[in-house]
């Protein structure tokens, strides 16, 4: 309980009368002090009882819609205050924004329950810029007496949590024909089988090293953690080709084809790094190669590769971001990758600073190698060609793309599997990313079947394994609907 300014003013006047009584030696003035003080204290006592009664009669409800959301989305918080009896005091309920949320100040208005009112309600939007579980703070309930002399603030209200998921796929399905892949999708079946690494030499632990590489016995013998460096016992090299063309933007926010492709790419990259394999990264959009990271097994290269994958965004070059029919993305990028020489290894290919020099040379570089008129090649094919040239023999190629350019995929896969090359294709079928009504599930199923035929066709190629990647709930929805029928 705290006095208002008005209360303090009256108390000051009472004190003034007391001072005047002492100064002028008039005891009668003290009677004024006594009367005014009695009035204030009686009001204070009445308010103490009224606020306790009001507090007992108040009920609070906090509703959040939705209770589970994703980063960047807003949730609507509705605070309802109800009093089982007419409120004997004025009640102001002020919602408090959780830490690290965004609430427009203009929207965060309090709910007021005037005298004799029984219900008040207020709603406000809350934005969540960071993923996690947010606990809405208790409501700040301020009660003020009718005379405006005293007020008190208490914290009331139920505990309400909001779960905010990151903008990333929550249920990544990797498998074949609707059946999820048996192993963790980062641990794809290596072409050579068995362990591909041999311990080389120990060194001190550095941040970023996998914890499972720590040699605990050696660490126990010395004062600092030690890890083993591995040396690949094979000549095997891995090329990770990731498509981020316009059609990869299909799907709801946070669950686009590219989001799933990114998850798979990171998992594959991590698994390869754990096996100390040399991995190169090639990203393509609708016009060609956009990034070309050299093959390397070093930790910095792995971290850089992971960063590139995490920051990979849908490219709008040459497309409108919507799914397109097969064959749309066929371009003029040569299989020899000469067109991609406009960018240098290890950096973004388009828009580099040396474009002037690059532009002058391109005419000379492109012209002799340009495919014959009418022959179109896909960016994937160009990426595979560049990877094969970079890596040499014993190349494993991991291709992550969608099924919008099936002819381009088939040709790229065939090119990658030449000379006993191993190819793993991870496809995001368009049928799994079309959020449609129940009536069109049948049509989605038909498209999924069509994709499955395509996938099996790829899978049947020598040295090729083809998988589907998409939201698991959508796979269950499409296949479950069919099974029920």
């Amino acid at each position: 309980m705290r006095p208002t300014r008005r209360c303090l003013t009256l108390a000051s006047l009472a004190a003034l009368l007391a001072v005047a009584a002492v100064l002028f030696d008039r005891a009668a003035l003290l009677a004024g002090t006594a009367g005014l003080s009695a009035y204030l204290l009686a009001t204070q006592y009445a308010f103490a009882q009224a606020s306790a009664a009001a507090d007992g009669a108040l009920e609070f409800a906090v509703a959040v819609s939705p209770r589970r959301t994703t980063v960047g989305q807003e949730a609507e918080v509705t605070v309802t205050v109800e009093s089982s009896t007419p409120s004997p005091v004025e009640v102001t309920v002020t919602p408090q924004a959780p830490v690290a949320t965004t609430v427009p100040a203009s929207e965060l208005s309090p709910a007021r329950l005037d005298l004799d009112d029984r219900q008040a309600r207020v709603s406000y939007p809350v934005g969540f810029p960071v993923a996690g579980t947010y606990e809405l703070p208790p409501l700040s309930v301020t009660m003020t007496d009718a005379a405006g002399l005293f007020s008190t603030t208490v914290e009331r209200g139920p505990q309400t949590d909001v779960v905010v998921d990151p903008r990333m796929p929550s249920h990544v399905h990797v498998g074949r024909g609707g059946e999820a892949f048996a192993s963790v999708y980062g641990e794809y079946e290596g072409a050579h089988g068995g362990s591909s690494v041999e311990p080389d030499r120990p060194r001190t632990y550095r941040p970023g090293d996998p914890a499972k590489r720590i040699d605990w016995k050696m660490t126990a013998r010395r004062d600092e953690p030690f890890v083993w460096e591995f040396e690949s016992d094979t000549e095997r090299q891995t090329a990770l080709v990731v498509d981020h063309g316009a059609s990869m933007g299909a799907g709801p926010p946070g669950e686009t084809k590219l989001d799933f492709a990114r998850e798979v790419g990171l998992a594959l990259s991590n698994a390869a790094a754990a096996r100390a394999e040399t991995v190169g990264l090639y990203t393509v959009d609708d016009e060609g190669l956009t990034r070309r990271e050299p093959t390397s097994s070093a930790n910095p290269a792995h971290r850089k590769r992971s960063d590139v994958l995490r920051n990979l965004a849908v490219s709008t070059a040459g497309g409108n971001g919507e799914s397109s029919p097969p064959g749309r993305r066929s371009g003029t990028a040569g299989i020899d990758g000469r067109k991609q020489t406009r960018t240098r290894s290890g950096g973004p290919l388009r828009g580099s600073a040396a474009d002037a020099f690059d532009g002058r040379l391109r005419a000379f570089l492109d012209s002799p190698k340009r495919p014959p008129s009418g022959q179109v090649t896909s960016p994937l094919l160009a990426a595979v060609g560049a990877a094969r040239r970079d890596a040499g023999s014993a190349l494993e190629t991991l291709v992550i793309t969608d099924d919008s350019d099936r002819e381009g995929i088939r040709r790229a896969v065939e090119a990658a599997s030449r000379d006993r090359g191993q190819v793993f294709v991870f496809l995001t079928p368009g049928a799994l990313f079309e959020r449609s009504s129940l009536a069109s599930i049948e049509a989605a199923y038909e498209r999924y079947l069509d994709f499955e035929r395509f996938r099996r066709g790829l899978d049947a190629l020598p040295g090729v394994s083809a998988y589907e990647v998409g939201p698991g709930d959508r796979v269950d929805e499409i296949l479950g609907h069919r099974r029920r029928q």
């Binding site: 300014r5 008005r6 003035l29 009695a38 009035y39």
Partner: protein
């Protein structure tokens, strides 16, 4: 809600009093300088009750001290009209010191104090918790009067009596404050959990 406030407003909102110390804008009770919170015009019954009590005080002063009493009574009535009962109560006590320069006898003081207390508590009669507030005000007034009497008789000193009264008021205020915190659950009784 407006009818429930023991407080004032004035229809002279554009005059100098409007921004003055004693001015009370209708419902704005928290501004500095707020003494009374009379409801907005037209005046209601609680306001007229305070006016009637002020009239009684003015009449008593007239009877007791003649022309000086008339002047003081008029001042008090104007104050009631312009501001409110609390202003009347405070200014009345200051003016009593002028009207009775050689002191006032206990009987007259008791009569006037009772009437002035009526100026304070009568407006409460039409409010929520009227019985509790009026009863508590009267009870505390009697108690404080007793403290004053004891202090004045015991110490033979106005300042000692005043100090005793102020300390008593602060003590009572603190007790009510603690009672409020306990009743709202802001202080837990440690003994109750065992």
């Amino acid at each position: 809600m407006s009818g429930g406030r023991d407080g004032p407003s004035t229809r002279h909102g554009d005059g100098w009093l409007a921004g003055g110390f004693l001015r009370v804008p209708g419902n704005d009770r928290t501004e500095m300088g707020l003494l009374d919170s009379r409801p907005s015009l037209p005046r209601d019954r609680s306001s007229f009750a305070a006016g009637a009590a002020t009239l009684v005080v003015a009449a008593s002063l007239t009877v007791i001290s003649g022309r000086d009493g008339i002047a003081v009574g008029l001042v008090l009535l104007v104050l009631w009209y312009l501001t409110g009962p609390v202003s009347v109560y405070v200014v009345a006590h200051l003016l009593l010191a002028l009207v009775f320069p050689s002191g006032v006898d206990p009987v007259t003081l008791s009569i006037l104090e009772t009437e002035l207390l009526g100026v304070l508590v009568l407006p409460i009669g039409w409010q929520r918790d009227a019985v509790r507030r009026v009863g508590a005000t009267l009870l505390l007034s009697l108690a404080f009067a007793g403290v004053l009497w004891v202090g004045h008789r015991g110490f033979r000193s106005t300042w000692a009596a005043g100090t005793l009264l102020v300390l008593t008021c602060l003590g009572v205020g603190y007790v009510v404050y603690r009672y409020s915190r306990v009743s709202l659950g802001q202080i837990h009784d440690e003994g109750a959990s065992t």
